[in-house]
């Protein structure tokens, strides 16, 4: 590693002698920056397959993270992909089942969710697209 650059240490650690794990930032390492973040939202009923497509505009296949919630269980966000099947999740909810997945390439992030709420429900996804290639 070069002996020049930028470093920020945690409070209480010397910038010159601390281990890299005690640095908040070092230009000696790649950073996982967010290129794009946002949300999308669709309403449907049980059995509907909802697809969300974000044409991210990056020239590479980015690392992504996606979370979702539904209007029925809006107090928390769950990570995707998610495959609960016909059983309940650890909170006892069957808000999404059958199938849900994420596909990403150098053009699109595609999220597909099958609703399983019985009645009409709204699913919201939150996506994070990073400036790092998979």
């Amino acid at each position: 590693m070069a002996d020049y650059g930028l470093k920020i240490s945690q409070d209480g650690y010397s910038i010159t002698t601390s281990d890299p794990r005690n640095l908040v930032f070092s230009s000696g390492f790649n950073t996982l920056g967010i290129a794009l973040q946002g949300s999308s939202n669709q309403t449907g009923t049980s059995g509907d397959v909802k697809t969300f497509t974000i044409a991210h505009g990056l020239s590479f296949t980015p690392y992504v993270m996606v979370f979702f919630n539904t209007s029925k269980y809006s107090s928390y966000w769950k990570s995707l992909p998610n495959a609960i099947g016909t059983t309940s999740d650890f909170l006892g909810n069957k808000d999404v089942s059958f199938y849900s997945d994420i596909r990403v390439d150098s053009t699109n992030l595609v999220v597909r969710i099958t609703l399983n709420n019985g009645a009409s429900d709204t699913v919201t996804i939150k996506y994070y697209i990073f400036n790092v290639s998979v």
Partner: protein, 99 residues
């Protein structure tokens, strides 16, 4: 914030969060199932620098605010972005109105 909406219903289908969007963000597209991509348009709210303030420690901090007629709504959405789905777009004026 960039808001994607259905030009047939006014329903909001998605967002890109942030205050200042460069060309890369402006070129991003979004589609959802059941909506013709040709029926999705977007509203862009950029933030602009309106001044500076000196903090108690002497630091000079820039002040930004939404450069949009519905500034107050976008100030709220900056803190709670998914609250955008409590709104829809009034198609003739392209204003956000509560559902």
């Amino acid at each position: 914030m960039i808001i994607f909406y259905n030009t047939q219903t006014g329903g909001i289908v998605g967002t890109i969060e942030g205050r200042v969007h460069d060309v890369a963000h402006l070129n991003v597209g979004m589609t959802v199932s059941g909506v013709d991509p040709d029926h999705i348009d977007k509203i862009v709210c950029q933030w602009k620098k309106t001044g500076e303030e000196e903090l108690p420690d002497g630091t000079i901090a820039a002040i930004f605010e939404p450069d949009h007629p519905q500034k107050d709504i976008f100030l709220g959405l900056d803190k709670h972005p998914t609250d955008v789905y409590n709104f829809k777009v009034k198609l003739d004026t392209r204003e956000l109105v509560p559902k």
